[in-house]
Amino acid sequence: MTSMMNDSDKTLQSRLKQAQQDAEEGQVPGFDAVWAAAERRAAARPKRGWIAGAIAAAILGAITIGLLPPAERHWEFVDPAEFESSTSWVAPSDVLLPDHRVDIYREIPVLIESTKIEEGALL
């Protein structure tokens, strides 16, 4: 590249190089410090193999669970007589009655017969 440069190119180069060096002066930290920090960062970074291994294990686990036979069910049967003696049924509308679970029809209501016909119907 240098051989292709004429005098003004070389002047430009030397002045720019000097300017660049001035700008960078005192700003460059030692290699060892930067390298040591990089090594720590590299060690802290999870390795690709670990990630691939974890993904493979997860897939294998999912397949294994999918292929397992379903767990056996334990049926428990109830004796009908025991069931009937231990349960009762109450109509939901019973709560509307004035006296729960007592026959309100203690006496048979007397129905008054009407023989008087008004407009073609019994009163």
């Binding site: 430009l12 700008a23 390795k47």
Partner: protein, 173 residues
């Protein structure tokens, strides 16, 4: 290359080779982030992490220097693409706030430096790589991720623009 020097995940890279070019690489990182030293250090560290872990694997297709410069360039590009708008706002605020530390500017050859800073980014990059980092146009283009032809165009335009800006300054010497 000493055997003990070779990186485990990058067999063609040695620690001593990286150490030898550390100053140049750091300089390149500095100019990627407007001479913010902390950001540059983080960039270089990240580049070394990529090499240590083998995520950036050197295959010997180019020189190691070209490769490492390209790694830094790519890291800077992907990082600053995300935060470029925020960075621009910060820089605008910093330029109006005297309390914030400004990037270091060179004392000597300031005219040349200022002229380079006015160039478009790619022209600035190729000028830095060729003039300050002693790279060929081909290697510089590789670092920048452009074809050699495109790199040459940027280089020629940059030189022309600098000569127009500096004019007599260059002929005086």
């Amino acid at each position: 290359m000493r055997d003990s020097d070779v990186l485990e995940n990058n067999p063609q890279v040695s620690r001593s080779a990286l150490e030898a070019m550390h100053g140049q690489v750091f300089g390149w990182a500095l100019s990627r982030c407007n001479f913010e030293q902390v950001v540059a250090e983080d960039l270089v560290q990240q580049a070394y992490v990529e090499l240590l872990t083998g995520k950036a694997r050197f295959d010997g297709e180019s020189s190691l220097k070209t490769f490492v410069f390209a790694v830094v360039q790519n890291l800077a590009r992907s990082r600053f693409r995300r935060i470029s708008s925020r960075l621009r706002l910060t820089q605008q605020a910093a330029s109006t706030d005297a309390g914030i530390v400004q990037p270091v500017e060179p004392g000597e050859n300031e005219a040349v430096w200022q002229a380079v800073q006015t160039l478009p980014q790619r022209q600035r990059d190729i000028v830095e790589l060729v003039f300050c980092r002693d790279m060929t146009i081909e290697a510089a283009s590789r670092v920048m991720g452009v074809s050699t032809g495109t790199g040459r165009v940027h280089y020629d335009r940059a030189k022309k623009a600098l000569k127009e800006k500096l004019g007599n300054d260059l002929n005086d010497e």
